[in-house]
C-alpha cells in the first residue's frame, strides 16, 4: 500500500480533477492519493467524482484556502 501526493496548488479547474483521475488509474486498490488544491471548486468537484466512483474520501483544510483531498482507491 503506497501513498502518492499530487501537487495541484495554483491549478484552476478542471485541471486538478483530470490530473487526479489520471493518477488514480495508475494506482492499485488500497493505495492512497493525496491531492493538494487551492482552488475552491476543485475542493468540491474532486471529492464529488471520487465518492461517485465509490472511493473513500476525506478533505482536510490545511491552511487558509488550501486543502488536501485524501482518496483511498476502493476498487
Amino acid at each position: 500500500m503506497k501513498e502518492e501526493v499530487l501537487d495541484c496548488n495554483g491549478e484552476a479547474c478542471p485541471v486538478p480533477l483530470v490530473k487526479a483521475q489520471n493518477k488514480l488509474k495508475e494506482l492499485e486498490v488500497g493505495d492512497v492519493l493525496v491531492v493538494q488544491v487551492d482552488h475552491s471548486c476543485a475542493m468540491k468537484n474532486v471529492p464529488e467524482w471520487a465518492r461517485k466512483e465509490g472511493h473513500n474520501v476525506e478533505i482536510e483544510e490545511v491552511d487558509d484556502g488550501e486543502w488536501e483531498i485524501v482518496i483511498q482507491k476502493a476498487k
Binding site: 496548488n9 495554483g10 491549478e11 478542471p14 485541471v15 483530470v18 490530473k19 489520471n22 487551492d38 475552491s40 468540491k44 491552511d63 487558509d64 484556502g65 488550501e66
Partner: protein
C-alpha cells in the same frame, strides 16, 4: 463554543451554498436589478465603459466610435463612473466576493505556476472581452438575461457557448495536462 464549530457559521459562511440556493438568489436579484435600473443584469458592458473613461481621461474621444455612438451610450459616459449602475454592481461583485472569501477564511494569493498560465489567461481574457462586445453581451448579459427575457438570442448564445466550451476543454487538456 468556538465560532469555527458553530453550525450557523458553517451554513452561512464556510460551506458552499447549493446550486439551488444560488439559482434562486440570482433570479431574485435579476428581478430587483431590472426593477431598479430598468435594464437586465450585465457585467462586461460596464467594462467597455471603463475602457472608454480611461481613454477619455487621456484626452481621447469615443464620440465617433460606432459602439458608443448612440445617445444612450453617450449620456451614460457623460454621467460618469459613479452614476453607472453596471459599474457599481461590478464593484459590488468584487467587494462581495472578497467579503465571502474572508468570512470563510479561505483568502489566498495564489502563485503563478507557469508562463503558460499567463499566456492562456491573457489570450482568454482578450477573446472573451472581444467576443462579449461583438455579441452584445457575455454569459450574463446575453445568456442569463437573454433567456430570462424570453429572447431567442439567449438560447442561440447557449448553444454556441456550449460548443465553445467543448473546444476550450479539449485545448485545456492538451496544453495543461
Amino acid at each position: 463554543m468556538k465560532l469555527r464549530e458553530s453550525t450557523h457559521y458553517k451554513v452561512w459562511f464556510k460551506d458552499p451554498w447549493s446550486y439551488v440556493t444560488g439559482a434562486v438568489l440570482l433570479a431574485v436579484f435579476q428581478t430587483v436589478t431590472l426593477a431598479v435600473t430598468g435594464s437586465p443584469w450585465g457585467v462586461s458592458g460596464a467594462l467597455a465603459n471603463w475602457g472608454a473613461w480611461v481613454y477619455r481621461a487621456f484626452g481621447g474621444s469615443v464620440d465617433k466610435w460606432y459602439y458608443f455612438s448612440s445617445e444612450g451610450a453617450q449620456a451614460l459616459l457623460d454621467r460618469g463612473f459613479l452614476k453607472d449602475p453596471g459599474t457599481m454592481r461590478n464593484l459590488g461583485i468584487i467587494a462581495g466576493a472578497l467579503f465571502a472569501i474572508l468570512m470563510a477564511s479561505q483568502f489566498k494569493i495564489k502563485k503563478i505556476k507557469s508562463w503558460k498560465q499567463v499566456v492562456a489567461a491573457v489570450l482568454g481574457g482578450l477573446l472573451m472581452g472581444y467576443g462579449a462586445r461583438i455579441a452584445f453581451g457575455c454569459n450574463i448579459g446575453a445568456l442569463f438575461s437573454g433567456i430570462a427575457s424570453l429572447s431567442l438570442s439567449g438560447w442561440v448564445f447557449a448553444v454556441f457557448l456550449f460548443l465553445g466550451a467543448i473546444v476550450g476543454s479539449k485545448l485545456l487538456v492538451k496544453f495543461f495536462m
